[in-house]
């Protein structure tokens, strides 16, 4: 099965049937036996051992013959497929600057949310992606080194634990994957924020804002303006491949940090933060 996410093509072998069904749904992928396009990453989900075919079935994720994760329980493979794609991009694509961040775009201007786990960035970006924004990615800001523009990826938003119910109640008609319970990150589900046709109409966008969001229950929205040095520090700290790209990445991130507005925002209400984000892209 081939999954195209925009700039990258993944080929998977030996996917469990339930994972295939979910990937068809999320990525609108076609099952093809012939490969007519270049494949960036080939991932084989091998069965771990003869006994494991009958007892506590597991899959081993192999990338070019190398095991990339510990064996994964058969019924927990869907999130691991998503994490495997993240791992491949983050580990091997050094033709672009990669920032650990979610990215939303509107009117040709992008806002990136570089933030640590538990900050609520994925929930926020899923919410925005299901409203009037385009979710470019909930994991990577993929930045072209020459232009400094961020590219869209065709990926669903990843939701964990309480976020699943929050987004499901706000958008009951959205297309969700099945919920995988009891993963290392808790319960995980994915939600589709756009169809392939819409994705194909998107263009790389200029980064207008760098925002570190922090969800705090029942809080009023608090906006702290960050200076350019702080913005640059955040971008560098969250880059996957800054140390590999070296001075090229330094120069480009300096330019991005000095051109973008930067804020640390604490929020509890999605609509409050959305109005602030609109001001950034005005």
């Amino acid at each position: 099965m081939i999954v195209n996410i925009g700039d990258f093509n993944f080929q998977f072998f030996n996917l469990p049937n339930y994972v295939k069904r979910e990937l068809y749904k999320l990525y609108e992928s076609e099952h093809r036996s012939e490969v007519n396009e270049s494949i960036d990453f080939t991932i084989d989900l091998e069965t771990s051992s003869f006994i494991r075919r009958f007892f506590r079935r597991q899959k081993i994720f192999m990338l070019d013959g190398q095991r990339i994760f510990n064996p994964v329980a058969y019924d927990k493979c869907l999130p691991s497929v998503e994490w495997a794609m993240n791992w491949c991009i983050g580990s091997y694509d050094h033709s672009k600057i990669l920032i650990h961040a979610s990215v939303v775009e509107k009117n040709g201007k992008a806002i990136i949310f570089p933030a640590s786990q538990g900050s609520g960035k994925s929930t926020l970006s899923a919410y925005l992606g299901l409203k009037s924004w385009n979710l470019f990615s909930d994991e990577f800001a993929v930045i072209d080194i020459a232009s400094g523009f961020v590219s869209p990826l065709f990926r669903p938003a990843s939701l964990k634990n309480n976020s699943i119910d929050i987004i499901r109640s706000a958008f009951p008609n959205a297309m969700f994957s099945c919920v995988t319970k009891g993963t290392q990150k808790g319960d995980v589900a994915h939600v589709k924020t756009m169809n392939r046709l819409h994705f194909n109409s998107l263009q790389p966008a200029k980064i207008a804002g760098v925002v570190t969001p922090k969800y705090r229950k029942d809080s009023e929205v608090e906006i702290l303006s960050l200076n350019m040095t702080q913005a640059l520090s955040i971008l560098i700290r969250n880059s996957f491949n800054y140390s590999i790209l070296g001075d090229i990445a330094f120069k480009k991130l300096c330019t991005i940090a000095s051109d973008a507005e930067a804020y640390a925002i604490t929020y509890s209400d999605f609509d409050d933060i959305e109005s602030t984000l609109h001001k950034i892209i005005r």
Binding site: N227, T229, Q230, C254, T255, S258
Partner: protein, 80 residues
């Protein structure tokens, strides 16, 4: 002047100067409340003009001394 192993970027809001060390790949930052006293030009500090200004402006002299102490600038030019 700036040592050869460094490239730098002076943030236009005068919040800091970022240095990238070409030999090690390390990035470091220098901040000072009066950074705007240096001569900035399109993301760069004009070191020559800043040194010239330091003879008349003690604040500039202090900043350049601090940059030198932190290992970014060549010492002998400051001493001359």
């Amino acid at each position: 002047m700036l040592k050869e192993q460094y490239i730098h970027y002076a943030m236009p809001d005068f919040s800091g100067i970022a240095f990238f060390e070409l030999t090690t790949g390390e990035t470091s930052f220098f901040t000072h409340p009066n950074l705007s006293c240096l001569v900035f030009l399109e993301g760069q500090v004009d070191w020559v003009k800043s040194f010239q200004r330091s003879s008349k402006d003690d604040t500039v002299s202090v900043i350049l001394e601090a940059l030198s102490s932190n290992g970014y600038l060549k010492r002998q030019l400051l001493d001359s």
